[in-house]
């Protein structure tokens, strides 16, 4: 065992152990590290925010005479008018601009890239099991959400298959969530056993 001399490794390992101590029982050390994490996160967000304003807003105006950057800076400042009662309504302007641009951007590419292309990808020759399962699954799930007419016994059967298809999909999603969180745990073990204790 080669115990690390890096203060960063000690800090990381002890913080991980403090957080994991919650699994036994909630305690003061856990709460202290939890607050430390929230504080660090907030501090990092403020530092990143200021860095972005400086590099993408202020510097281009000062160094490159790009005065058009005053517009996003002004819109950003308007967001803070929500704290002034008389000017509160002005804070809606940057929100409206952001939502409008976001919706416009999504509408521009979404129909062709995420609807038509996916529909096209479902129109497969039914020559193998995978293609048959895919096409059947899509049709049955669509049938499940078909509420405009009263469902007869056939339609109800198809919709039930659609429901089970969705259940299997949700199961896969939950399993991948477990998979991902196990990876997180392994990474913390890597820090403790490898970086800190030098056992790996």
């Amino acid at each position: 065992m080669r115990l690390s001399t890096d203060p960063g490794a000690w800090m990381a390992a002890l913080s991980i152990l403090a957080i994991y101590s919650f699994l036994v029982k909630e305690n003061r050390v856990y709460r202290m590290v939890e607050h430390l994490y929230v504080g660090l996160g907030a501090g990092h967000a403020i530092a990143m925010g200021w860095h972005n304003i400086r590099t993408m807003g202020i510097n281009p105006i000062i160094r490159a005479d790009r005065y058009e950057m005053l517009i996003p800076l002004a819109l950003g400042l308007l967001l803070y008018t929500r704290f002034i009662k008389k000017l509160h309504h002005l804070s809606r302007i940057p929100l409206a601009v952001t939502i409008g641009i976001g919706s416009g951007m999504a509408l521009r590419g979404l129909p062709s890239a995420q609807i038509l292309a996916q529909v096209r990808a479902t129109m497969l020759p039914l020559t193998n099991v995978n293609n048959i399962l895919l096409a059947t699954g899509v049709c049955c799930v669509l049938a499940f959400f078909f509420f405009t007419v009263k469902q007869g016994p056939v339609m109800r059967g198809v919709a039930t298959v659609g429901k089970w298809t969705m259940m299997i999909t949700f199961g896969v999603t939950i399993a991948t969530a477990v998979f991902q969180h196990t990876s997180f745990v392994i990474t913390t073990f890597n820090t403790i056993l490898g970086r800190w204790l030098g056992l790996l």
Binding site: V24, A45, A106, A121, F179, Q180, S183
Partner: protein
């Protein structure tokens, strides 16, 4: 006994889980590793790159998702560098530059030179809007790199005017914006090959883009990283974690089965007693 199985103290589960993971990490086991088609396709496309290619690599994740995505990104960046292609790193995630800096360090350890073989433009705010803008005019969005050097100082980037001038775009993401935003704003309209690297939880929602041909490959999580490391014969974090992943999942499955058996057995017993 069934009651005990159903109401097992969770601390016992944590202890056994810890022992299984730590044991597998301290005594690594070699496991057979079938390669997924999406991983193989990814490898083949990167393998076809040459010295004249420039690849755009977006590093779009923070510390939380990094555990699951970073091994894939390191494996792919290593492969791209080994092929001699140049790499342009950037991020539309505020936390991304922390990890793109790690990738630059890793590539420098492999003998690649910053400014000559790779450049990191850091974070650009604006999400999907920025993605669309750099697709049309890369140079107006990426004016300086993380070290404050102008884009004009990198001669090999002279031919890059729009995203179409990249041989391919590789997007790693722990959420939104991610591959769908790149597909609808850049790679589909401009017809640019796209490779995705996401966390395991995102894989089921992103794999349809591979089936539709909108992505040439997808790496989702630690296991896919291990597959890629196996193909490139460069063992890394993915390979090292495989045994621990397997034992952790066995423990979870065993306890899941035990608690369900306990639940149904006690329910049946209670039902029988009430009759």
């Amino acid at each position: 006994m069934f009651e005990k199985m159903h109401r097992l103290d969770r601390r016992i589960l944590y202890l056994i889980f810890t022992l299984a993971v730590a044991g597998a990490m301290l005594r690594p086991v070699v496991l057979p590793l079938p390669i997924a088609a999406a991983t193989r396709a990814y490898y083949d496309r990167i393998e076809a790159l040459g010295e004249n290619d420039i690849v755009l690599l977006e590093v779009g994740y923070g510390p939380i998702a990094a555990a699951d995505i970073h091994p894939s990104v390191v494996a792919v960046a290593t492969h791209v560098a080994r092929q001699g292609a140049k790499i342009v790193l950037m991020s539309v995630w505020a936390d991304g530059p922390m990890f793109s800096a790690q990738i630059v360090d890793h590539l420098e350890r492999l003998g690649r030179v910053y400014g000559e073989h790779m450049v990191d433009f850091g974070f650009r705010a604006g999400g999907e809007g920025t993605i669309a803008a750099l697709g049309r005019d890369f140079r107006s969005v990426m004016t300086t790199d993380v070290r404050g050097t102008s884009i004009d100082a990198f001669d090999w980037l002279d031919r890059v005017k729009t995203a179409r001038d990249f041989s391919m775009i590789l997007v790693s993401s722990g959420g939104t914006p991610g591959p769908p935003e790149w597909i609808r704003q850049v790679t589909d309209p401009l017809d640019i090959p796209l490779g995705g690297m996401v966390g395991a939880i995102m894989k089921p929602s992103q794999i349809p883009f591979v089936h539709s041909g909108q992505m040439f490959g997808l790496l989702g999580g630690m296991r896919d990283a291990a597959e890629y490391e196996y193909l490139t014969r460069q063992p890394g974090d993915g390979t090292r974690s495989l045994g621990a992943l397997m034992f952790a999942h066995i423990v979870i499955l065993v306890f899941l089965a035990m608690s369900n058996i306990g639940y149904f057995a006690t329910k049946k017993k209670a039902g029988g007693a009430s009759q």
